[in-house]
């Protein structure tokens, strides 16, 4: 047991140690050292995480919860304490393993990818900080610790997205990500405050075993008085809004595609298993609590499916490969979230929970982490080789980058969800969950999304690797082993991960709470894997037909000028960036900010100037009094005596 505690400290704090070493010792000159420190320490971190996982699943504790260590962090009241702890349960250990593995692989990849960057060591410093904060987030045993690391993730992602701060677009993107997630986090914090006020606890364990019948009476929010049940419901919505922003759900999604301005390894780590799934993780972590409120779960489901379809549609039209992957990430996040949402079944005014959606969502987090990280790294390799983000400059890379090509096949098949690749298993679980909980519209939309996913992924695949080279820079491309090796490392779990994890899934990954009203499934849905596979195959064929058949008009299909208006709408991502810009410009800057500026300038500033004027005048008056002119002093003295004797009541 002591071993495990030591290992848990190692797995959490080794990235932090790497951050400290890099930040304090290697911040400037010694280039390679920083990378070696990060790679070695994150490698050991991964090994210790793996050790904990093996121990946990073999010791028979699973799927029980275990708090390995706990330190008192802040004492708010006598009963409300915030702890800093390491929570061990199936969900957290899965995340710890995945995050430290991805972090290790991305560190390894960045060694080659970033080798010419002048701020090489700064990159590894931030990357280590990011890994640490994400690990701290997933092992949190209470809301407060989670929020703490949640914000740490926010700031380190801000630093990473804005890593190339010389580029104005990167600065803009990092600011946007920071502000948008902070906007959502403010609601999260409100939710934490509200729930800790009502339930007087931060602990997930207590929150997950809440029983609504214990809460009666009302609380006073200052301007309105609501019952405690309503307060809990409100806090569940508020907490979810934190995840809403972090997981970039519609319409707060715009920071995620723009965050592609960061270096590709950053996109890879942020958008695969870490920052963006934090929102999904939050909902999963508090799932029994959310399950108390079917309306919240419905909101989650609707948002998830909207984002899934919306992002998939946009991804079809994009030409920037990183943007394609970014919208694909959005779409997959939508998948995970609506999978959590479909668990809620309302039949004849009684709400049930169908636990399959929960398990499927976690499953999808797991598989998605590997293949999406790999796809981003592949995109990074392509960009590294071609020196362009655009599909217009690629094509015909199949023979020049054979290893990358092989990995890309695995990646796109995995994300499209064909058996036996990992994505198939998790996606099918989600589809089955949606079908069995009788959310048929969501189920249909999910099928459409999976077809769209296969289409845009194969569009990317065919346009990048097949056909003829479309630019000069593709001619002398060489594959670099330093980039291919990490990709191949990820190819293994992308290929086999689904099959291996599925066994664990049904054994250990349930909602982990016994006071749920479990829904007994009525429909089997055995046909769904076949149907979805068929749809995916059709999509792949269509993609091949449009982009890779021998006489395909690739130039024309890449040309976006002669397109219908609807296409342009999609291509410009429904002008959401522009809407946000207009909103911020017109409403925030011109409306509110200028009003406040006016107030500041003329009223507060005016008051200040008035005070200044009065005080200056008083000062000069007093200064004039001190003239050094003796008769004046004498006159004042006599005047004072006169006043004193005239005004004061002398005892006569």
């Amino acid at each position: 047991m002591n071993n495990i505690i030591l290992m848990s400290y190692l797995s959490l704090f080794l990235p932090f140690l790497a951050f400290l070493i890099n930040a304090l010792l290697f911040h400037s000159s010694r280039k390679k050292h920083a990378a070696y420190v990060s790679i070695v320490l994150s490698g050991f971190g991964f090994l210790s995480a793996l050790y904990i996982a093996v121990f946990y699943f073999q010791s028979g504790i699973a799927p029980g919860k275990l708090i390995l260590w706990e330190h008192l962090f802040l004492k708010f009241t006598d009963s409300l304490h915030a702890h800093f702890a390491f929570l061990l349960d199936p969900l957290s250990i899965m995340m710890v393993v995945v995050v430290s593995f991805i972090s290790f692989v991305v560190n390894l990849y960045s060694l080659t990818y970033m080798k010419d960057d002048p701020s090489f060591s700064r990159f590894f410093t931030f990357l280590s900080l990011f890994s640490f904060s994400m690990l701290g987030l997933v092992v949190a045993s209470n809301l407060f610790q989670m929020f703490f690391f949640w914000e740490l993730v926010g700031i380190s992602s801000y630093l990473l997205i804005g890593f190339w701060y010389q580029k104005p677009s990167a600065v803009k993107a990092s600011k946007q990500a920071f502000v948008l997630t902070r906007f959502a986090d403010s609601f999260f914090l409100l939710g934490i405050v509200l729930i800790s006020y009502i339930a007087s606890t931060f602990s997930f364990e207590t929150l997950n075993s809440l029983s609504l019948s214990h809460f009666s009476g009302s609380i006073n929010l200052g301007f309105i008085s609501i019952s405690k049940l309503q307060g809990l419901f409100l806090s569940s919505i508020l907490i979810f809004i934190g995840g809403w922003g972090k997981s970039a759900m519609f319409p707060m999604h715009i920071w995620l595609p723009n965050a592609m301005e960061g270096p590709t390894p950053v996109s890879s780590i942020i958008h695969s298993a870490t920052m963006v799934v934090a929102g999904v993780y939050l909902v999963a972590r508090l799932f029994p609590f959310f399950a108390l409120f079917p309306s919240t779960l419905h909101l989650i489901m609707v948002l998830g499916i909207i984002t899934a379809v919306f992002a998939a549609v946009i991804a079809i039209t994009q030409k920037d490969i990183k943007r394609i992957l970014a919208f694909s990430t959005l779409s997959q996040l939508g998948y995970m979230l609506f999978a959590l949402g479909v668990t809620s079944v309302v039949l004849q005014n009684e709400s049930f929970i169908h636990p399959l959606g929960y398990s499927a969502s976690i499953f999808h987090i797991f598989t998605h982490a590997f293949f999406k990280c790999m796809l981003f790294l592949i995109a990074g390799s392509l960009i590294h080789a071609v020196h362009s983000n655009s599909l217009e400059a690629m094509g015909g890379l199949k023979n020049k980058m054979p290893w990358t090509y092989a990995a890309a096949i695995i990646g796109v098949l995995a994300i499209s969800g064909l058996p036996p690749f990992s994505g198939f298993f998790s996606k099918d679980e989600i589809l089955i969950a949606a079908f069995q909980s009788e959310h048929f519209i969501v189920f249909a939309l999910a099928l459409v999304t999976s077809a769209l996913t296969a289409f845009y992924m194969f569009r990317f695949f065919f346009l990048a690797f097949h056909g003829k080279p479309r630019s000069n820079s593709t001619a002398n491309v060489k594959e670099s082993f330093g980039l291919s090796f990490p990709i191949l490392l990820l190819a293994i779990p992308s290929f086999l991960g689904g099959y291996a994890f599925k066994k664990l899934l049904f054994q250990y990954y349930g909602p982990g709470s016994n006071n749920l009203n479990v829904f007994e499934k009525s429909m089997q849905g055995d046909w769904i894997p076949f149907a979805s596979s068929f749809i995916v195959l059709v999509s792949i064929f269509l993609a091949w037909y449009f982009y890779a058949r021998p006489y395909a008009k690739i130039q024309k299909s890449l040309d976006s000028s002669n397109r219908p208006r609807f296409y342009k709408w999609i291509y410009h991502q429904f002008y959401f960036d522009e809407i946000y810009d207009a909103l911020v410009q017109q409403f925030l800057f011109k409306g509110i900010a200028q009003t406040i500026r006016f107030f500041e300038d003329y009223i507060i500033g005016g008051l200040l100037k008035l005070f200044l004027f009065v005080i200056q005048k008083l000062g000069s008056l007093v200064r004039e009094l001190q003239s050094g002119w003796t008769p004046f002093y004498l006159g004042l003295m006599i005047f004072g005596v006169l006043m004193w004797s005239l005004i004061a009541k002398l005892p006569i």
């Binding site: 001190q626 003239s627 050094g628 002119w629 008769p631 004498l634 006599i638």
Partner: protein, 101 residues
Amino acid sequence: MTLLNCLLLSFILFGIGVFGLLRRRHIVAMLISIELMLNAANMNFISFAYFSKGDASAGAIFSLFVIAITACEMAIALAIVIAMYRRTHSLDIDSLRGLHE
């Protein structure tokens, strides 16, 4: 000749002293005005000593004290005037603003 007359006389003398003190620019002239004011105060002592039923001798003695203190004050003040004159060659109070700095 009543107490009122004497006190009124002393008030008037004091007022004249104040008037002189404020309007003269020559330091010695200001000292002279101060002498007038002290003299007025002295007259108050004597008047009350003479007219009140209390300890009359004490009033007289206090006026003696006042005279003695005045002598001290004048001695030092005139010494200062001389020292100042040596240094600045001026006895105009308006031009002596060294206290200001």
